[in-house]
Symmetry: D2
Subunit: 298 residues, 4 copies
């Protein structure tokens, strides 16, 4: 089918290629015009602006946004809204907070526009060769555009999760679980590293990927990482985060759920971003106060 | 090759069949004589006792123990020790604490017996059709018996990890990671369960197994569990544990490693075994003391 | 000085008495008219409504709200706003979220009204005989009304913390620390309770209050609680919470601070409110799937 | 009464002075002979060795050890044992692990010697002017020597907790609670430090010590620490630990108790002792693998 694609970054560009491979007709735009030229060479219809993109699509239009969550998504939507017609469909394929999605969807509803929230997993490789989608929105409308998800997903790799918001919420929780799994793997190797034994981590990850209970894609990636740098000596253990982990913890709090593993996975990331902590200073000072324990001076 | 197998429980019996399938000659014994009779019908040489088993093997013997860790392993070893000859090999295929392994190996060394610690993962299915082994011991001796691991493991599913103790230590950490991953998955579904959306958990697990970052064997098992009981209404959330998780945390403490996710995974299991907690009583009483907050009466 | 007091609940009534004891002139109102009658007998000027209260004060008025945070505070403020004059002062003595405080203060500013956020600690006893105040707002204005805080606080028990919001933020963090301390105390007694020893908890708390490092008001309250019910057998360990703990964790997340102890204190409260958890069900089901471990049936 | 004191370090010397102030007759020794000379000037009977100390006491002797836990305690006891008579009493006033205490007490029992485990809190100041004791041992024997505890403790600052081991176990748990409280305080100030407000921490701690729920000796020490270094700029947040926190967590695990706050307090100390973590490296590498997220290079 014919659709518009806004955003040709790492994810969006690969998705465009994936759609084109599957015989979909893609009108594509991006703030970076060279990306627009490139995708045109790859077979898409270029659009130099969102206005032009909307213009090149016939109502009811289907427009897939693949842009960063937050401000940019907000901006694209405010630009889109006045250009669209009743019955058009907008897909947010980014990692938006489901609360934003609920608000935006309501705004779109007022214009008669169908809004879909699509959590996308599998990284850039997935976007290119078969992604994993978690989709929220109106089911009847979803069935009309199901093909674009089915075709670009890995086999069985898309799921209509329910009403608007359920797609981004599901992706958020997916990432929360991912945080916990990654921290668990990290802690395990940390214990191995401090142990009295001398392990070959690549081989450890390899055997764990062959028949063990913890075999997983993350363990395959662990193996891959160790294959490039046997002791990870070249990198610092700074663990950044982009939002979904935090939202998962906030949702856990809102829902009064004990989620200690996800919460701690996030907090250890924050800890890793600091060289020293004020918490530590206070505790060290207190130990000195009551026990005369020496402090480490700066 | 010819070897002895002590222990014909769920794991041991399956391992025996697996060894027999692979043309190994198995002399097998168990405290349960009907299991011995059964395995004899399946092609093994039966032995009614450990004495008989040792007797039916020629030095240097290879004897694989597949018995519960702790007291029973201790008992089998004390029975075995006086019967063995210099150069014999003993394999502990159970989930022994690596500290016990180090002590036992030292005792065996004094008798000239080669001791191997083999962590076995993959469950009973793995034991039957392809297990995952983490092996510690003397490497030269290991090469002489490598075939029995290679043949009964899943492809690439065995790893010689280093000196004695390194196999059980690695299995212990594997289980620690497993605890963390399971708790992360559990927390994620708990948040979904309390969310305002109405998810089909089997389908959620299914889509997460197709292209997502958290695809894993544990997520496949999650899918399987939900396929049998869509909301897990039939079971209580009591999370038991058998030892390796605790040992992983103890090792983390000994090695001064921050492993909050593994530690909390374990502690939430303990919490799940109590209907009410004394911690909770104290905190509730304190809230009542200073703020007059109502307590829930028993 | 003369001031208005809105709210004659447990905290507000005691504060009124405290102000009256200190020769302040109090015009008091409450939705519960019998409380208004009572406080009139105790020496306050009764007001049957907020309108009447404002009417009985001369500009620039000082009005202290001692009402529940959230909706009721919102409601009182929206009723007050049109009645006030430029230069009037409003004090929010409740446990409001500092983000609400910042918003409300801005709205009040637009009317030329001075807004103070006052976190109040010490419980109802403190309100009556000497509270602990953490105060945010304009410092020049604060000095004009300092007397009402100084007079009703315990000696040295008030602190001007800085600009608007800093008072409620400080109270929020105070409560976060309180959560952590209470959970630590609870855990300690839980370990004692499960230990092989047979402790007298009241005496334990007593000795810890005499010369130990952990002597504290909370330990005194612990002693008091055990003096009434030696093993806390009459109460359930359900740990409720009212908001500040959650806001502290949310603030920690917003500020990218690792605050595991405060976060876990809160999450263990949530856990205590559930008889069984979905997390536990998932983990139990998984253990059954891969290891055949028995589950507890409902 | 007359007693022997082994160990004249910071704690032991102060205890000796305290005993002398209270008209007890102290025979004192230490490996450091100048400390022995000093205490002689202060009124004690000097002993150049443990042999001499035992010699200068009449059976039944009472000997108080105030030496570091672990090896040194072990050594002193092995030296003492052959010198003592049936009915003598030995007091271990150090921070010994209660499991060591149980073993040692059993060994002493075999010689007819009464063994007391005395957890001592309150720091060096307490040892000098009024300590806090948690005492385990035989109660009848305890009553015979109660005076030395009563006289050197702060008022109400000693507690006979029960049979041998209960004193050191209680002190261990006391320290576990202390870890949790300190971490809670540290986290609170860390949140303040990262907040948009500009607090004076000494004044914050001061007001919290006047009427708030979290008033405590630890908060007084916090105030004292901030009075010396307003932002703790001179010290590093390295949080060392000496053993009791770890033993508390190990005991929690042994007793299957969820003690997340105490466990995390300990683990954050371990974390603070590392500049970078292997956990962090693994997680950062994984994020790079699946999402192409940049890593920080070493």
């Amino acid at each position: 089918m014919k659709l518009g694609l806004i955003g040709l970054g790492k994810m969006g560009y690969n998705l465009a290629l994936n759609l084109l491979d599957n015989q979909h007709e893609v009108v594509a735009t991006d703030v970076n015009s060279s990306q627009v030229e490139n995708i045109a060479k790859d077979g898409a219809t270029p659009a130099q602006s969102i206005v032009e993109l909307v213009d090149k699509l016939e109502a009811p239009r289907t427009i897939w946004m693949m842009v960063p969550a937050g401000e940019i998504t907000e901006q694209v939507l405010s630009e889109l809204k006045p250009l669209l017609s009743v019955g058009d469909r907008v897909i947010d394929g980014g990692n938006s907070n489901y609360k934003d999605t609920l608000r935006r969807s309501e705004e779109m509803d007022a214009y008669g526009i169908h809004y879909f929230d699509v959590g996308t997993s599998g990284g850039t490789e997935g976007a290119r060769n078969g992604a994993c989608y978690m989709i929220g929105g109106d089911e009847t409308e979803f069935r009309k555009i199901e093909a674009i998800f089915k075709d670009t997903a890995i086999e069985s790799g898309y799921h209509f999760a329910g009403r608007t918001g359920s797609g981004h919420f599901l992706k958020m929780v997916h990432n929360g679980i991912e945080y916990g799994m990654m921290q668990a793997i990290g802690e395990g190797f940390d214990i191995l590293e401090k142990s009295p034994f001398d392990y070959d981590y690549e081989q450890v990850a390899n055997v764990w990927n062959h028949g063990s209970v913890i075999r997983s894609w993350l363990m395959e990636l662990t193996e891959s990482a160790f294959s490039k740098d046997a002791k990870l000596e070249d990198i610092r253990g700074v663990m950044n985060s982009s939002g979904e982990g935090k939202w998962t913890v906030e949702s856990a709090l809102d829902l009064q759920t004990a989620a200690p593993v996800i919460a701690l996975s996030l907090m250890m990331r924050y800890r890793s971003q600091e060289d020293d902590t004020f918490t530590g200073k206070v505790v060290a000072a207190l130990r000195n106060e009551f026990g005369g324990h020496a402090v480490v001076k700066n």
